[in-house]
């Protein structure tokens, strides 16, 4: 049996740049920052008082009663999945799917941190008012598989709903799992991606205590600056991004529009340190080589890389060294986190969407705030989008825990 080709037929997202994929992509091409000051009362005493908050609040999309029963990470996952589902030309009415057999439809959506906002809010209620006042919706709101399960319910998926958790590599690994599910013959369509909504004092305090976050509080739009000598950490973002992966023959049979082919994936673990990246990026280099082999391509074929590049002092240049070793000096890079902030578990999925649209439009979205580049940097599309013919592109994601995921998309 030959291995089935897998293509991308739908995209959905709600991000700090826009409430859907089209507005997010327009903002990326315009080089806009989604980062702003946190004006909430709880932020005043924090060392970090900036974040990339959603452009369109879930309350503008989902009704009030529904939102009472959803963690914010679940709400944004549902919104992104609904968009991707409609974009792929599918519909679900009263739990019945149209266009795909429900028993051949799977979901793979993960989160880096999960329902932390629910956990913390319900703990406040427990402390203040006692156990009986804790919401009966607490567990389905905070369970890590909640976003995948709610999306599965929404779309009527019956081939399995899966929840990958690999910190900031989650979104990419969830897409890699979707590829595996279709190749293994366990599904024809997989709704795959990542979600994150933890703009809350505890996660911010935790990341800030690690000294991982930018404290450029007086200049939010310039705080996320991958590869710039003045970078001082990542900027936390929130949102969700979801793609519809489909067996190529299934997509062709229904006449679906195909954005790109998901040609290969590579997943490795460093086995080195719980949070520090391997100094030579050994695990990351292996992930890229595995992805190239899986896609039956060589480094020379990769025209563009959407880098992980979070704007931390150590991580950004380690990735450059790894790219040089695994691919070479030729690709045109970008770091879209300079605009979106770091969406943690959703980052890899959002950047996959940016990679797919770069291929479609033959345009590399810019890296903003790169005013004083590090020495030895590769070719980066700085401040303005770059026209580029892109037959194949790479998207990298790394996560605390030593997770490395490389995805390769090609023109259909």
């Amino acid at each position: 049996m030959t291995r089935p080709d897998v293509v991308v037929t739908g995209l959905g997202a709600t991000t700090p740049l826009g409430g859907d994929v089209a507005s997010t992509w327009d903002a990326m091409l315009a080089g806009r920052s989604g980062v702003s000051a946190l004006t909430q009362d709880w932020a005043t005493e924090l060392p970090v008082r900036i974040a990339a908050q959603l452009r369109v609040d879930p309350s503008e999309v989902l009704d009030r009663v529904r939102l009472r029963r959803l963690d914010r990470s679940e709400a944004v996952a549902i919104i992104a999945a609904q968009q991707a589902w409609a974009d792929a030309g599918f519909s679900t009415v009263d739990g019945k799917t149209d266009g795909v057999d429900a028993e051949r439809l799977a979901v793979s959506i993960g989160s880096g941190i999960g329902g932390a906002q629910t956990l913390l809010a319900q703990d406040d209620i427990l402390e203040a008012s006692g156990a009986r006042r804790v919401s009966p919706h607490t567990v389905p709101m905070l369970m890590p598989n909640g976003p995948a399960a709610f999306v599965g319910l929404e779309l009527g998926a019956q081939a399995g709903v899966h929840c990958v958790a690999s910190a900031c590599a989650t979104g990419a690994e969830a897409i890699a799992l979707g590829l595996d599910l279709i190749r293994a013959g366990r599904a024809d369509v997989v709704v795959a991606g990542g979600t994150e909504a933890v703009i809350h004092p505890l996660p911010i305090a935790g990341f800030a205590s690690m000294r991982a976050m930018s404290t450029r509080n007086d200049d939010p739009e310039r705080a996320s600056r991958p590869w710039d000598k003045g970078r001082d950490g990542f900027v936390l973002g929130e949102g969700a991004a979801v793609v519809v992966l489909e067996r190529a023959e299934h997509a062709a049979a229904r006449g679906a529009r195909v954005y790109a082919r998901l040609a290969g994936s590579g997943i490795t673990s460093d086995g080195y340190d719980i949070v520090q990246p391997h100094p030579e990026g050994a695990g990351f280099v292996r992930a890229v080589r595995k992805a190239l082999a899986d896609a039956d391509l060589t480094g020379a074929d990769i025209a563009h890389v959407n880098a992980h590049a979070t704007s931390t002092p150590t991580g950004d240049m380690a990735e450059i060294a790894g790219l040089r070793a695994a691919i070479g000096d030729h690709p045109v890079l970008t770091a879209t986190k300079s605009m979106t902030g770091h969406l943690l578990g959703a980052a890899g999925a959002l950047e996959s969407i940016a990679t797919i649209l770069a291929i479609r439009d033959s345009t590399v979205p810019p890296t903003i705030n790169l005013e004083d580049p590090e020495d030895g940097l590769l070719d980066v599309a700085v401040h303005k989008p770059r026209a580029l013919d892109i037959p194949a592109a790479l998207n990298n994601s790394f996560g605390f825990g030593g997770h490395n995921v490389a995805l390769i998309f090609t023109r259909p």
Partner: protein
């Protein structure tokens, strides 16, 4: 002591807040699950909110007997 009408109106407010039920649909003969589409988790929320609003204790073993709005009104008016 509230009248049956006042208790029904109070329950209607809770049902709207918790489960999005149209207050105009709330009447004594309506079943929570079948007519008003209140699922089991939301029913727990309704009970806890009713306890607070009416100053009454509704033990878990009583909740299963509260099939209709009228059952709840009767329980609340005789136990508050």
């Amino acid at each position: 002591m509230s009248s049956r009408e006042e208790i029904t109106a109070g329950l209607a407010e809770i049902l709207e807040e918790v489960a999005g039920v149209n207050p105009a649909d709330v009447a004594e003969e309506k079943s929570f699950t079948e007519d008003l589409d209140v699922d089991s988790l939301s029913m727990v929320e309704v009970v806890v909110a009713a306890e607070e609003k009416f100053g009454v204790k509704i033990p878990d073993d009583q909740v299963q007997n509260l099939k209709t709005v009228g059952d709840a009104v009767t329980y609340i008016s005789s136990n508050a």
